[in-house]
Amino acid sequence: MSIAFKTDEIFRDGFRYANSDAAILRFPFPFVEDSYMYSVNIEPHVRGGPTPAFDAVLDIDEHYIGECRERALVLAQDPNRCMVLPHMMAAQWDTLELIMESLAADYPDHFQLGKDGDRWTWRNRLLNIEDSFVFGAPETLPFEPFEYITRQMQGDFTLQDQRDGNLYMDGGMVTSQADWSLEFDLGMTFHEWHGPVPLAHDLGVFDRALQYLLRLQYGRPVRRLNWTMTVNPRLDTSPENYPLWGPDRTTVTPENVGDKLHLRVELQTLYRLPRSNAILFSVRAYLASMNELARVPKWGRRLHRVLRDIDPALEDYKGLGRYRRMAIEHLAQFDDGAPTGKGIAPEVDVLPA
């Protein structure tokens, strides 16, 4: 697996972002059929899936360098995007170990981990980082262990403590979120932080999901896909910065909707951490414009149908209101009415020029 890493991407005003053909073909397209409704769509996180985005424990791609740089910019302005409560130190080391071991095993050309007892040496060749430290001794790292390692990752992370038959969000690194705030949710229970989600509470989705996650076992991670839409390839759509990105929604026109409107897919993976018994939640976000996705004929057809028929409550929650009509009219050109195959695989090996 050879990745051509981009080095000059910008995820804020002055945007510079595009997906290569390879990145489009590996996109974790979230719609398994031509319509969408909530379900407990959790499955074992086994190696391999409908696209190569499912091949690694923790996936990195051509946007890695730019996304890490964007994270550093957000943290410089707002250090509270990374917070971990004091009783979660064991979970911090669990997280560092999981990420370092996974990256070193899955991407040995880019990441190397050396161990001499508790003395570890970490090399990240993509970001030119090399550090030696003592596992278990936070003072030997430039940041606390959770912040240190998640600064070197694409995607957001939260740490859930398990107690009293519930999960508590007791830590996180959240700089590329779909309009929720770690500082607001920190310390909340599972049902509290899911409070704003429409429909799913009445369907019993969260009761079942919580029972399932309380029984999540070490060595048996699980995954699901979630999605929303974002105007411009902007990663930091946080409540804290709403004044910066909220107005973007008024800039969509029938002429620019195909390039400006992005499907934002979260490959969410959950890991039971062995020392702390906490759960690490990884939210790895992928962005692709309508026009990029429509280069896969099946996805163009399906995206048109899903947006056309979506439940009004979801339209509002996903923030589609202002531009859904424009998106449907734009996508109609890619939908010839032909049936689509089941599942999310692109069903093509190369994209038309």
């Binding site: 959790i42 499955e43 190696r47 424990v57 403590d161 399932y212 060595g219 062995p274 018994n277």
Partner: protein
């Protein structure tokens, strides 16, 4: 990313601790690092002895975080299950057996102000792994071990590395006033108890009587995976499929080449929902409503089992 059970482990050492107790040291059969065991975690050993494999759960007593070996202590019981007798009589150093990945249903509560540990007999084992973890974190702790009179020296010996701390061994239940012990704990203390069911019930009742929140009282529980074997009959073909004691219905169906759609494999998503036309399911899922479970016309084969020897599915 997925560690497939069982792990193959080699018995590196067997050390007799008394006439009925042995300490086992297990290493990965391929010489590699083992999945991490934490304080309070257990593994199930899979022992091929006789007509069916034994599957017994034991708490890890090795240092938490240790990846070179697992240590556990096995008491030979005169009970019906044959696993402990097999370990005491037939297992030798060098033997290769199966072990599940460590699973923790008795974890340390990281926000407790103080940890009060109460062991009864061999129930000391998970607490032995607690001690170094709590000491390493500088946590406040107090341990009381209740032991048969003739085993007091044995447990004092096992606890010797921690003797400088607030660690006590008592000869018999009568030697420790549990209510007084609980009553003098500072606010924010969590109590953990592992031992005979009667002891654990007693601690729970004494704590409740003193007004302790249930969320601060923790007892060891290996959970209920697997169960008695039973037979599935597929109504449409009349075919019969055996479901083993450690096998899910879904695994048995898949092994027999009968495809059933599935997703979470944990009783949450509803994907493998199957109609029942005969027999009584033993529901273990979180998907069906209480009413649906009582009706017994639907079952989730990924986690649920059968209350009788035969379950008939509409497949």
């Amino acid at each position: 990313m997925i560690r497939h059970d069982p792990l193959a482990v080699r018995v590196a050492a067997i050390e007799p601790l008394s006439a009925t107790l042995k300490r086992l040291t297990l290493e990965s059969a391929d010489g590699g690092a083992l999945p991490i065991g934490s304080a309070g975690a257990h593994v199930s050993l899979i022992l091929e002895g006789g007509d069916r494999p034994f599957r017994n759960a034991y708490s890890l007593v090795s240092m938490p975080g240790e990846r070179g070996c697992y240590e556990l202590i096995v008491r030979r019981t005169a009970g019906s299950r044959g696993g402990s007798a097999f370990i005491h009589e037939r297992l030798g150093e060098g033997s290769v057996i199966g072990a599940t990945v460590p699973h923790n249903l008795f974890p340390i509560q990281r926000h407790a102000r103080k940890h009060l540990l109460i062991g009864g007999g061999i129930g000391i084992t998970p607490l032995l792994s607690y001690l170094p973890a709590l000491r390493q974190g500088g946590e406040r702790l107090e341990l009381h071990q209740i032991s048969a009179r003739d085993e007091v020296p044995l447990f004092e010996n096992l606890l010797a590395p921690h003797a400088a701390h607030d660690v006590h061994v008592h000869a018999g239940r009568g030697a420790l006033d549990l209510s007084a012990l609980l009553a003098r704990q500072p606010l924010g203390t969590h109590v953990y108890v592992c031992g005979p069911a009667a002891l654990m019930d007693h601690v729970e009742a004494a704590a409740a009587a003193l007004g302790w929140p249930a969320s601060r009282v923790h007892r060891e529980n290996f959970g209920a995976a697997g169960g008695d074997p039973f037979t599935l009959r597929l109504a449409r073909s009349g075919r019969e499929i055996a479901v083993g004691p450690d096998q899910s219905m879904l695994d048995a169906l898949e092994a027999a080449g009968v495809p059933v759609p599935s997703l979470c494999r944990g009783g949450a998503c509803g994907e493998c929902l199957t109609k029942v036309t005969g027999g009584v399911p033993e529901h273990r899922d979180h998907y069906l409503t209480d009413l649906e479970k009582a009706e017994g016309a639907l079952v989730m084969p990924c986690v649920s089992r059968a209350k009788n020897d035969l379950l008939v599915l509409d497949l």
